[in-house]
Subunit: 328 residues, 2 copies
């Protein structure tokens, strides 16, 4: 358990004491990151650049927050000035944003500036790193992010079912100063962290095989090294983008905001979203993500995460798309 924590700190690039895997999938980590810091009536500001920003809006409301949202069309990213303006107009408990939006393939830049803006106005910065941790730089301490959460099964390539979370000193202090109990018992970090502390105080039965799987996945992250890992993800993503463009396919997200772990490519007018998706799966063993929400039927999402970010897979998916689209 100590090693899991130590390696998670390495992945998050943090010294945060409270760095643990939550016993649930990434969405449980998202809920923990919101529920532990929201008290009924708190104002929170949520940046929505896709599906998972909307999910945070839903969750925060369930915990009694008064939610304001700043949304942009899926595929685009938040504008810092607009968020700063919103922060100056209302006293928010937190600003929650998504680092890598799985639903669109967009990577939110300028995280340190969002952190600075949030802190200037007395708000925490909560960051969804589900699609980035272990694949794209996440510098929790340098960027001064208060709470970051992720999932075990994406760029960390462990089994699904755990949600790494890290909580900085500013946010951890808020856990002890709450006037009300955390709305969820299962996700209440004050109690969960005692299990990960010296006393190993029982809270709930740990999904222990998953914790072992995460340990091994993190060991591989350490063995490869974060820098090499980020380079690999970026290289393979760029090869994919280049290949897609050579196939005259259009990417949804403009170059400077593209996420290396998930690439969203537009369905050509001549092709059927579902047919190509099924063809890829049945004949090539490649599962691409469907378009969600407003992008339903309009994009395919190609994941190159963790173990699956390999040059040979880039070549294979490009060859497969070439064949399928040529066949019409």
């Amino acid at each position: 358990m100590d090693e899991v924590q130590e390696m998670l700190r390495y992945a998050f690039q943090t010294k945060n004491r409270l760095t643990i895997p939550v016993s649930g999938t990434g969405s449980a980590g998202m809920e923990a990151a919101l529920a532990n810091f929201i008290e009924p009536g708190d104002h929170v500001l949520i940046g929505v650049i896709g599906y998972f920003g909307e999910r945070m809006v839903d969750m925060a409301g369930r915990y009694g927050a008064i939610v304001d949202r700043i949304a942009v069309p899926w595929g685009q990213v938040l504008d810092l000035a607009e968020v700063e303006q919103a922060l100056s107009k209302q006293s928010y408990k937190m600003l929650a944003i998504v680092h890598g939006e799985t639903s669109s393939g967009a990577l939110q830049p300028n995280i340190p500036d969002f952190a600075k803006a949030a802190h200037k106005h007395g708000a925490l910065l909560v960051l969804d790193t589900v699609a980035t941790l272990g694949g794209v730089p996440v510098e929790t301490d340098t960027w001064d992010v208060d709470v970051a959460f992720s999932g075990s099964q994406k760029a960390l390539s462990a089994s699904p079912g755990l949600a790494p979370i890290t909580v900085g000193a500013r946010a951890e202090e808020m856990l002890t100063k709450r006037k009300t109990q955390v709305g969820s018992w299962y996700l209440s970090l004050r109690e969960v962290q005692k299990y990960w502390g010296k006393e190993r105080t029982y809270h709930h039965t740990a999904p222990i095989q998953l914790n072992y799987a995460l340990h091994e996945a993190l060991r591989l992250v350490v063995e490869e090294g974060l820098e090499a890992r980020f380079y690999r993800h970026q290289e393979n993503a760029e090869q994919l983008w280049k290949g897609l463009e050579e196939l005259d396919m259009e990417l949804l997200v403009k170059r400077e905001h593209r996420l290396a772990t998930v690439s969203s490519v537009k369905v050509p007018p001549s092709a059927s979203h579902d047919k190509v998706k099924n063809h890829l799966l049945e004949d090539f063993g490649i599962e691409v993500g469907a378009g969600l929400g407003p992008l339903k039927g309009q994009i395919w999402r190609i994941g190159l995460m963790g173990h699956s970010s390999q040059r040979k897979y880039v070549s294979l998916v490009l060859a497969a798309l070439r064949e399928i689209l040529a066949a019409g």
Copy 2:
């Protein structure tokens, strides 16, 4: 997924459509069983016969319930007449009780009568079967239990991390008639059940390896058959009780209320709770549970659950205790 549901229905002895594993450990199942049916301001009545009854009191309060509790000393069980009296004095949304209390080793009898009493007064019966499902008869439909939940790692002997839950028609209807959203997004069954339905609508990434593990564990339950399984658990427990009595050790729970899956035995005045516990683990590879709460240091809890309910383990733990206690 369909097979997991079908085999869970077999284990719960139910035809309930909404029968699924929640993506969290038993406590997440408990929280789902409460959170989905409680709206802020609802009155709920909780029977407390040990640690896990107290946990339900804590959780229900977090979801805004006004909680009344009926408690008995740990090791004893609820008195039906007392619960009926409480139900007649206040309009409760639910009565939540524990079938097998892991912390004390007590089995609550008369579940059908508690169900009848709850229904007579318009309340749901929520039943904690964490320590009983797959080891002791749980007859959801015959007993007319509205909501029952369990854990994957006890008498079902799968990996920890999943919480089977079953919801009857009366309770399922309440899900659609709520005036407020369920407090927890992650545990909201209306959304989760769509993933288990025909459309397989994405809600959260399933902890898929755990679902496969549960499938295999349930397959073994079906292969053995519930009746044979219950007989095995009861037989081995009775052998253990007989052996403990032959060692002049005293059981906490009186015979007619003993739980076959967990037996609590009093620490003799001459012995040290911790020393014997450590000795069992280090020299015999046997981990017994510590006494919790008011029973801290006073009992050991011996589990004979699922795969571990074997005659040879009964013989081993008795031989080990004999040796350790004789050595003093």
